[in-house]
Amino acid sequence: MSVSKPHPHDSAPLHVTGAARYIDDIPLPANTLHLAFGLAEIAHGRISALDLGAVRSAPGVVMVLEAKDLPGDCDCSPSNHDEPLLSGAHVQYLGQPVFLVVATSHLAARKAARLAKVDYQPRDAILTIEEALAADSRFEDGPRIWERGEAGEAIDTAPHRLEGRIEMGGQEHFYLEGHAAIALPQDGGDMVVHSSTQHPTEVQHKVAHALHLPMSAVRVETRRMGGGFGGKESQGNALAISCAVVARMTGKPVKMRYDRDDDFMITGKRHDFRIDYTVGYDDDGRILGLEFQHFTRCGWAQDLSLPVADRAMLHADNAYWLPHIRIESHRLRTNTQSATAYRGFGGPQGMLGIERVLDHVAHAVGRDPLQVRTANYYAPASDAAPAVQTTPYGQPVQDFILHDLTAKLAAQCNYAERRKAVAEWNAANPLIKRGLALTPVKFGISFTLTHLNQAGALVHVYQDGSVRVNHGGTEMGQGLFQKVAQVAAARFGLPLEAIQITATDTAKVPNTSATAASSGSDLNGMAVKAACDTIRDRIAGFLADQAQCAIAEVQFADGMVSVAGQSMPFAEAAKRAYEGRVSLSSTGFYKTPHVAWDRIAGQGRPFLYFAYGAACSEVVIDTLTGENRILRTDILHDAGASLNPALDIGQVEGGFVQGAGWLTTEELVWDRAGRLRTHAPSTYKIPACSDRPPVFNVSLWDAPNREDTIYRSKAVGEPPFMHGISVLMALSDAIAACGGLYPALNAPATPERILTTLDQVRHV
């Protein structure tokens, strides 16, 4: 069987030799035009005069478009129809596209875009959480509130209570491939678009809207992206729409790609959050009542902020049974880039909130944080049915494996001994302090917008026995295509090489969901399985008829088809079926069962299941400067019965490093004018390969999903990101060795922020 094997990424040789084609590598037709945006220089206000004369007369410029020149608003929003392609007179953030330059080359377009003369009437910009709260600038009519039990009363009657706050920064996606799109005009006004998008169907939808075409007249193709991380879920719309609109106007092919600085300035990032908490707890650190207030900067447009903030609320429990809880979520509108999807989709922010609470409570009761964490865990899955606990939003936690998983990781990484060793080190070393933390992850798998939990596939078997697979998922380096190919190979009993992987194409599979929410393999694997099984059953039925045997006597394995004991190559079976006029093409469809969710009430079963894991990180800090390093990280992660352990471990490693980067070195800085000052790798530091822990042990918790997912595997894209939380907690633990106060360390924990927290802890 081709599943469960550690096959390398199908494009790995192409990636490392540079032969893998991205949008920017596609050879262009003659006379292709190139685009660049001119960007707003103020965060909020009106454009009183826009002089584009110098832009129009610049070398190579074909035309320049303002909002009024477009065929409508050309809305780019994935949600609320509040993102006109170009600003018009009303500027809502610094970096907002104001006009569009069409030129004969990429460079000519970019050069010309700088020549505009713009007069602004600035208005007060709302940049911070505090400013947005003061102005009541928000999405939705007020805060979203979900509660269970009587949190206030439980806190008041608890033996102890404490309050705190954690602030956590946003995060630039920093996909290595920047955004890009190409539009190719077709007969009769139809449009073909190549887009570096995680969501080809949405690009199709938005392009069709902009061109006033039915979706059937627009085809979007995506072979691969060089990283997406959520940043290409909605943010590619603007480029694709721009290209399509100009292609329509000129009849010529049109290409657009963002320069890296423009990508930083224009596109949305992870939502930064402030989380305030009040918790009541007992002598053992067991949480009796908890109140959270989430505040997040959503930026100028709604984009995906509501479901992101929802998911933060949905992970406010992480792995813990919280009988009395109230979560209040403020989605604040600010004059900044419109924050968007990013690996975890709000889940990491919500989870960091509760992990901070557990850490703070453990410090207050003077116990090992791991002991306090496990004491608050949900009941084990093996408990009798009536004892099944539910999440704050009412979903039964039926698959809780973290007791065993945590114990196994703690044993594997010698947690108890190392806890002692860290204490001994810290007692002996006044300047260099170590810290250790083991944190769990429980992450809900499914789109919370229930109707997105569907997928389609199209599979062809050719008369020579070769197989071509297509589905709605997109490849962004994560290995989805290989996993799905493994499924197809397994269904036909073929070697993996027999399966042809193809570009995602809205003309082959319609109405797809974004490759997001970790759902790519779960959804598309099942849809491809269904399509393969349809074809396989047709072949089996035909051969059984011919051999006058039962269908069950037709077996597909090892590249052969055996019929009542007679064996033939799969190609021979395909040829016979073709000549017997059997259809060898099929669609497949899957919809996730059991999910139902009322987001206003905050009740239901939004997730089919939970993915689990735990990470233990040891760090060292220099108490004189705040410099720090990760010394060692051990991760045990639940990928169910893994479809591909090599790819899954790759996702776990990459997710952890990206999560640690979010909480340590990656700092976004806006100045008081609302200008993002960190807009290039010279100012914004993502982890490099050399920043991974020198000791880095990642293994998979190999046990089948209790839900009937594709080969009982579990989604693995987002959950490991949150293992990075162990690093922040370990840094906090190291600081705690320096004084009596709780180190309320904010993120990202830069050296200066660590030193500031150290000073607070020391000056008791």
Partner: protein
């Protein structure tokens, strides 16, 4: 980038002559100037490339002095200044390999970026900046951020470093750019200790005289206990506050003393 002409003289004399043109700009390794031109922050009509002048390249050691030609790359200093290990180590830690293979000591010292490494070595060593016209003591040379004693058209042909008994350079890197958030160069000579700080001050590289006095009597990190620099006049930017930089100056100076041994 705006259009410009370029000349490639092969002697210092030719370069000096070429720079007499109004609006001509000397180009050495280009690690600062080329990005500046790309951002259109400068628009010289003519660049005079110094990279073809053989007489300004190379490292030599003689009688307690290491002389580095003004056109010598950081990589060449890292490999060739073994007579002054702290200087070689500083050069080997500048930027990344691409910067080290193009950037030159003359270009760095002439530019006097407040976060550059070389000014700390030059000032911390009490080096002499040699130009086509004269010799300038380091203490007279650095005159504030991006400001030096150089006249228009004057070219750094060499820097002469007296080799100290002990020395070390320690920098705290801004992790994204690897520029010095703060860098401290400490050098112990027979007649006293010099401490030069880069990255921290709005006035550019400076000598921390209180530390020098303390260390001249007792060259040990402990001699610096209780000493601190004021946060007034320190750079505050997106990478760190002035207070943090001032704090780092004291910590890094101790480290440099310890590293010098």
């Amino acid at each position: 980038m705006y259009a410009f002409d370029i000349e490639r003289p092969t002697t210092v004399a030719e370069a000096v002559a070429a720079l007499k043109d109004e609006d001509a700009q000397a180009l050495s390794g280009g690690q600062t100037l080329i990005p500046t031109l790309k951002q259109r922050l400068a628009s010289p009509s003519k660049l005079v490339s110094l990279s073809g002048i053989a007489e300004t390249k190379g490292v030599s050691a003689d009688g307690g002095t290491v002389t580095v030609g003004g056109g010598t790359t950081h990589a060449a200093v890292a490999a060739g200044a073994s007579a002054y290990p702290a200087l070689a180590a500083l050069a080997g830690g500048i930027g990344d390999p691409a910067v080290r293979n193009r950037g030159t000591i003359g270009g760095s010292v002439a530019n006097n970026d407040p976060a550059a490494c070389y000014p700390a070595a030059v000032l911390g060593s009490g080096a002499t900046v040699v130009t086509n016209a004269r010799e300038i003591a380091a203490d007279d040379y650095f005159q504030g951020m991006f400001t030096t004693a150089l006249d228009e058209g004057e070219i750094i042909t060499a820097v002469k470093f007296p080799v100290p008994e002990k020395a070390a350079y320690i920098k705290f890197e801004q992790p994204a750019s690897r520029f010095a958030l703060v860098g401290v160069f400490v050098a112990k000579y027979a007649d006293g200790v010099r401490v030069a700080v880069t990255g921290a001050s709005e006035e550019g590289v400076f000598r921390w005289t209180e530390a020098e006095a303390a260390l001249s009597g007792n060259f040990s990190a402990g001699a610096l206990d209780g000493l601190s620099v004021s946060a007034d006049g320190m750079i505050s930017d997106l990478h760190g506050t002035g207070a943090y930089r001032a704090h780092l100056v004291a910590v890094l100076t101790k480290r440099a003393v310890a590293a010098a041994g």
